[in-house]
């Protein structure tokens, strides 16, 4: 595939994603923030649904040697970076997706967040050029490198190669865990609804 075709495919994918996100008001930040702060799960359920479908499909295709899984070494920087990101997205009220989607809806605050995401990235490039950590992806070997706080590379495919068990088997286990979380949320929502109805009846009883 030529770079131009790649860019066209990516643009079409992004456009449909942007449209569906805008029409559904889905927000990744809300999926985490609302579950933590308000115990509401509208977005959390959607995120879990996507994760379940993707787990089955990605590990299924990886079992067959298809697809383009990420070659990604993991280190303590992975945890630290996403920790900072998690704080940032709640403060900004948007994540990487919703900054673009909300900007497209005319939200100047989201555009402001986007601008400072770029600024943050540029600032980090200056720091990286000074301390050279975390190691550049080109020098990552897939093996643990403890002095650089890197743990190496492992995914469903490396498990398949090492243990001789198809990647989809591990995918099914992860799917079952995600499904259990999804069902626990549904149960909790049912409980909240029952409580709400009881409360309403009590209020109606008092008023009568």
């Amino acid at each position: 595939m030529t770079p131009v075709v790649e860019c066209v495919v990516a643009f079409l994918f992004g456009s449909v994603v942007g449209l569906l996100m805008q029409r559904s008001r889905f927000c990744n930040t809300a999926a985490l923030r609302d579950a933590i702060m308000f115990k509401t799960y509208r977005n959390t359920k959607a995120m879990l649904m996507a994760m379940m479908i993707l787990t089955l499909a990605f590990t299924g295709f990886m079992s067959l040697g298809a697809g383009h899984p990420m070659e990604f070494d993991v280190g303590l920087n992975t945890f630290a970076g996403l920790f900072l990101f998690g704080i940032g997205m709640v403060l900004a009220g948007a994540c990487t997706v919703s900054t673009w989607v909300k900007t497209g809806e005319g939200n100047i605050g989201a555009l402001w967040a986007l601008i400072f995401t770029f600024v943050g990235m540029f600032l980090f490039s200056l720091v990286w050029s000074w301390n050279w950590w975390p190691p550049a992806p080109q020098v990552m070997t897939g093996q643990p490198n403890l002095p650089a706080l890197q743990l190496g590379f492992a995914n469903a495919l490396t498990l398949q190669d090492r243990l001789g068990v198809p990647a989809i088997v591990f995918g099914l286990i992860q799917f079952a865990v995600l499904l259990a979380i999804y069902r626990a949320i549904l149960r909790r929502e049912r409980g909240q609804r029952v409580k709400h109805e009881q409360h309403q009846q009590e209020v109606a009883g008092h008023e009568a």
Binding site: C7, V17, S24, N28, R33, T96, G104, N107
Partner: protein, 163 residues
């Protein structure tokens, strides 16, 4: 058209996006946003600094700026799709944060997101819709990080809301 009048069920929307992401995974790689944003940062910096950008090794070693990087166009697509959706459903209007504290909070949030993405080499989209479904070890570490961060962020947010 009904589609532009009613709010779409997010579970349906995300299930559809997941199916499309499977096709993208087979063709190019899973959905991601942070890489494209970094490349855009590099391109903007290059247009401002010109040759001086080469003095910052990050931009010659990790992310040499190039405009034909497919991940950039996912973000531009999302912007376009959202604009079309908002316009056709008559939901496009300019919304501006009112208080200075809001501008400041969003600014700090944006900076932390940018620094965090580059420190981790991934964003939240890659975490939930790429690494985790591939069962990459990084996905589990990243999810632990983002949940812990969102929890701390929520504490700050509550304090600011109440304060």
């Amino acid at each position: 058209m009904e589609f532009f009048r009613k709010t779409l069920d997010p579970v349906f929307a995300l299930a559809t996006i997941a199916v499309l992401d499977v096709f993208l995974f087979l063709l190019l790689g899973a959905w991601t946003v942070g890489g494209g944003e970094t490349m855009m940062t590099g391109l903007i910096a290059q247009s401002v600094l010109g040759e001086d950008l080469q003095r910052i090794p990050f931009w010659s070693i990790v992310f040499p700026p190039r405009a034909d990087y497919w991940k950039i166009y996912i973000s531009l697509g999302m912007l376009t799709g959202a604009f079309l959706g908002a316009t056709l459903s008559k939901e496009f209007y300019l919304r501006t944060p009112r208080r200075t504290s809001e501008w400041l909070m969003i600014m700090v949030g944006g900076l932390l997101m940018g620094i965090g993405i580059r420190l981790a080499y991934i964003c939240n989209v890659s975490t939930f819709f790429g690494l985790l479904p591939e069962m990459n070890l990084g996905g589990y570490l990243a999810i632990s990080g983002i949940v812990a961060g969102a929890w701390v962020g929520s504490l700050f947010y509550k304090k600011i809301l109440e304060g």
